[in-house]
Amino acid sequence: MELTATILLFIGVVFGFMAFTHLSMNMKIPKMTWMIHLIMVILGVAALIIYAFATENVEKHYNILVIFGIALIPGLLILFGKRGTGTKKALAMLYGLIGLFGFFWLLTYVLP
C-alpha cells in the first residue's frame, strides 16, 4: 500500500509539475492535466490513510499526512478561489514546494 501510494503520488507529482509549467508560462492548464493530478493525489493520499490503518509498522506516515494537509490550503485556494494568474502562480509555487517536500519525505522511506 505504501508503494501504491508512492506510485500514485509520483504520477500526481509529474502532472502537477506539468500544470505548474503551463501556469508559469501564463498558459491555460489543460483540463486533463489538472484532473489527473487531482485524482492521483486523492488516490495516493487515500492509499496512505489505508496504509496507516492497516500496517503493523511503527511508522504510519502521519507526518506526511500532516505535510499534505498543509499543502492542501494553497491547493484549495487555487482550485476554488477566483484569483488572477499572478496570485495563482505564487500559490502554486507554495503548494508545489510543500507537496514535493512531503513526497520526498515519503520517498526516503520507500527507496532502498
Binding site: 509539475f17 509549467t21 499572478g86 502562480k89 519525505w105 526516503t108 527507496l111
Partner: protein
Amino acid sequence: MKWTYPIVAFIVVFVLGFGLTNLIKEELEVSPWSESGAEEGRLMAHTKNVTRLVNAGAADLHAYLKQTIPYEEAKTTDMAPSEKNWQEFFLQSLKVDPDAKNIVVVPGGGKDALKWALPALYYAYFNGSPVLFYQNGELSGNKGNLQNKKAFIIGSDDLIPNLDEFEEAERITAKSPQQLALKLAEYRDEEAEFGWGRKGDRDNGYFHYVLTTPDDALLGLAALSYARSNNATLLYAEEDGGISGELDRYAFAQRSDWFVTPSEGPFRHFWIVSNRVSYAAQGRLDFALEKAEYASMGPVALGDMEALMLIFVIWGVASALFVWIHALYTLPMVKMPIKISWALASMLLPILGPVLYINSYRRPATEVEKGDWRWIRSYNQQSAAATAMGFGYGAPLMIVIGFIMVWFGFPLFFGPGWEGPFFWLGAGMPIMMIAMYVLAVLIAWALVQYPMKKNMMPGMSNKQISKMAFITTALSMLAVSLGMMTTSWYMLMDKIPMMPKEDDVLWFASMWLASFIGFLIAWPINWLFIKNKLKPGNV
C-alpha cells in the same frame, strides 16, 4: 520540443530535492542521539575499550604477559620484577637503540623512585633510549655512548639535582606521578624524539594505554611489554582507584569518531593492571574511548566546514527561488528555457547567480523579431550569460547523476588484468566522474541544447544542428568539469578525511562548491565561444 526544458528542470528538482529532503531527515534522526548516546553507549558496549588484567602480583602478571605477548621485539627479561630488582629488570629488558637521540634520567632506588620513573621508562622502552638511574649522587645504567644526545631528567630537584654530565638537558616534572604521566603522554620534543605527543587533536594513531595506580607501579612495570607490542603509554589512576579530572579530560579527548563505518579506526584501549582501579573508573574510561559516529556526536556534529557549506547550499536554494520568482513575474520577454537555466544556475551559484542575472537584464533590449528580444551586454557579461545557459542545465545534471550513482551504487569492473596503466579505472571516483560527464552531456544535448539551437537557427539542417549542439555542449561542459571535477576530487578525496556519503552535508556541499568553481573556470573559456560567435550571449 518545448517540453524538454521543463523535463530536465523536473529531473533536477526531483532528484536534488529528494536528496536535500533526505539530508534534513537524516540530520533530524541523529540529533536526539546526543541526549541518549551516553546511556546507550554505556549499556551496549560495556567495557569493550578497557581490559582488566586481574592478577596475583607482579610475578604472576609478568609470567602471563610473557605467554600472551610472544613478539620478540616486545619481550622482557625472564626475571620477574620486584621492588628490589626493578632497575635491573628494566635494564635487562631494554633494547637500546644506538641511534636514539635522547637519554632518559630517572630517579633510582626504592618504590617511591619507581612511581616517578615508570612513565618515562615506558617511553624509553618503546623508543630504545638509554636510561640512567640517579641514586645518592651517582648515575648507573646505560652509560655507554652518551654523545650528541639530549638528556631528559624526570622528576623534581629533590629527586635529581641538576647534573653537569650532559651536553644538553631538560627537566620534566609535575606535582604528582599522575600528572607527570599525563604530561609525558602529551609532551613531544620532535628534535630529540622524546615524549609520546598524544594530544587530543591527533587525528592518527593506533595506540593504547596501560593504567595502574602509583602504589601499584610495580604491576605497571610487569606490563612493560605493552609499550612495544601495543605502543602503550603508562597512565596513573588515583590511589583510591578513581580517576582524576585531568585523566578524565585526557581520556575523553582521545575519543575518536568515524564517518561511514567504525572499522575506519583508530582504536584506543586501556589495559588496567591494578586491581585497585574501581569498576566505576573502568566504565568511565570505557565510555570515554567509545568510538562515536561523527554525525551523532551532539553539539560537535556540525563541523565548521559543514556549517559554512550548509549556509552556501541554503543561499543557493534561496538564490534559485529569487531568480525564478523574479523572472516569472517581471521578464515576460525572456523565454522559458532561459529562465529555467538562470534559476538552476543560481541554485549552484549563491549570490553570484542573482547578481549576474540582474546585471544581464537591467539594461537596454531590442526586439529583433516578434517576441525575440536581445539585450545589449559587454563581452564579459555575454560570456557569463552564455556560461549560465550551459551550466544551468549541465552542472545540476552532473550532480543528479552523481547522486543517483552513489545512492544506488555502481559496479566496479576490476580484475587482475586492470593493474597496468589503467589501474585508476578500478577506483570508484574516476568512473563516477566519467559517467557524470558523459551522461550529463548526452541528456543536456538531446533535451536542451539541440532543441534550443533548432529554435534559434531555423534555416540549418537537423544534422548540422545536432553536430554543432553536441560540440558546444561537450566543450562547455568540459570547461565546467575542469573546475568541478578537480574541486570535487580535492574536497572528497583530500580535504575531507573520510569520503562523505550522499546523506552527508559535506557531499552536497562539495558538489555545490565544485560547481561554483567550475563556473568560474568556464566563464573565461566561454569568452572564446562568444568571441568566435559559437554561442549567443545576449538572449
